[in-house]
Amino acid sequence: MKVLVAVKRVVDYNVKVRVKADNSGVDLANVKMSMNPFCEIAVEEAVRLKEKGVATEIVVVSVGPSTAQEQLRTALALGADRAILVESAEDLTSLAVAKLLKAVVDKEQPQLVILGKQAIDSDNNQTGQMLAALSGYGQGTFASKVEVSGDSVAVTREIDGGAQTVSLKLPAIVTTDLRLNEPRYASLPNIMKAKKKPLETLTPDALGVSTASTNKTLKVEAPAARSAGIKVKSVAELVEKLKNEAKVI
């Protein structure tokens, strides 16, 4: 079966971002960008499904600026077969991205679509669910285990009190949680080979999708800083401070 994986180019998770002085957003100039960590897990899961003989083709798709080609090449080096870039310079909302992905799903007709559970920049945790709604497919969000059998997929999900397993009819949407797998690294020969794999570029216009949004970001600010704390010398002093100064125990 064909598996479609969506990946996002985001600021690297180790970077401590700074808010711009004019409060229009965070400063991403000259900041290291990477594939969103949850998307890496999604790519890895697709590759494992292919290694198990469940998946026959992996198509990786990204919605974003032309520089997102780097992340698509990374996914190709990890084992995806071909890539699609839906190029848009604008900052799109999750709903707009879900609509664009729906257009790609209609075109490609995958049996399984794997996304990350959330992107570490916008922290929205919406796109997979929205894509599932738009395509009318079942959704297995926050997946820690995925097992395809016949025309259904069993997804074990991380929920607040533990784990839950649901069974979904294929085609279905899965979003990955951290513990689904440990993503591999791309080897140098595979990075070289990935340069020759096909990468198709589309635009929202070509897909006939409007990316208009009902949300507007008015400003972005730095969070309130915590006032500097103190170092205590002993456990006794700590307990004394907690009891008498902070009054929390």
Partner: protein, 309 residues
């Protein structure tokens, strides 16, 4: 303006996060209705009717809603929600699972995990693991929003006397089914609602050593949390994880033991009132956010702390 709040429950008990969500609804202003979708959840509907400020409870009782499957519940919420100005749910695993599906069905953008209400159409929410706060305005006809519980003090669970109305709308998409679940058992307070949280990280070295934290937590009436490192190493189950990808907590007192303080962990606990860090590495980033820091070996400090509190 009428606001629809989706109740968080397990068919037996109304989850406390619903009270924080109603508090956010009260800040927006207007009539507040609560939807209880489930199977045999009459007791939950009764409890919802008693929440202060709620004027009506809708009880949708159907076998298809028993396990909160989004494929069945989202169409119900979207259909009922058309007449409302706002649809709110707690940013729990159910809320996060269901609500974006509702938003897409209504063709509107969602606002996730709001921490404050600026006005009826403007909200604040953290982005980049809490390293920036965005103010977002929505001009959607129906504003679909998840609420971060720690951003709002809960309303009173008693005092209201709303009417409970049965809703007959049935949706069964027939594309998903519940197979089973494994819930972690714990006698301690729930992590996201606890007044005191004691968390362990990689520095605990193994799962067995968490017994020191459990002993301390039991003495303090605290919940026990963990960093991703501790969960990934298999010391404790993953539903104990505090952070950007785990649970968000804001207790009165957060004690971080053997936790370095990575950005992703801080995202889950830096709104705690008082933060205590116990770490033997005095350069650990956790000390930059700690109100009280103790540079010490946790295996000596924790038993001593347990004795003294």
């Amino acid at each position: 303006m009428t606001i629809l709040v989706i109740a968080e429950h397990d068919n037996k008990v109304l989850a406390p996060a619903t009270l924080n969500t109603v508090a956010a609804a009260a800040k927006i202003g207007g009539d507040i209705h609560v939807l209880v979708a489930g199977q045999g959840a009459g007791a939950v509907a009764e409890a919802a009717a008693k929440i202060a400020g709620v004027s009506k409870v809708l009880n949708a009782d159907n076998a298809a809603y028993a396990h909160q499957l989004p494929e069945n519940i989202a169409p119900l919420v979207a259909e009922l929600g058309k007449g409302y100005s706002h649809i709110l749910a707690a940013a729990t695993s159910n809320g996060k699972n269901i609500l974006p599906r509702v938003a897409a069905a209504l063709d509107v953008d969602q606002i996730s995990e709001i921490i404050s209400v600026e006005s009826a159409d403007t909200f604040k929410r953290p982005i980049y693991a809490g390293n920036a706060i965005a103010t977002v305005q929505s001009n959607a006809a129906v504003k679909v929003i998840t609420v971060r519980a720690t951003g709002f003090d809960p309303v009173a669970a008693e005092g209201g006397s709303a009417a409970v109305e049965a809703v007959a709308v049935a949706h069964d998409a027939g594309i998903s089914s519940f197979v089973g679940e494994e819930l972690a058992k714990s006698d301690r307070p729930e992590l996201t609602a606890a007044k005191i949280v004691v968390s362990g990280g990689r520095g605990m070295q193994n799962g067995d050593n968490f017994k020191h934290l459990y002993a301390l937590a039991d003495k303090l009436g605290a919940a026990v949390g963990a960093s991703r490192a501790a969960v990934d190493a298999g010391f404790v189950p993953n539903d104990m994880q505090v952070g950007q990808t785990g649970k968000i907590v804001a207790p009165q007192l957060y004690i971080a033991v053997g936790i370095s303080g990575a950005i992703q962990h801080l995202a889950g606990m830096k709104d705690s009132k008082v933060i205590v860090a116990i770490n033997k590495d005095e350069e650990a980033p956790i000390f930059q956010v700690a109100d009280y820091g103790l540079v010490a070996d946790l295996f000596e400090a924790i038993p001593e702390l347990e004795k003294l509190v």
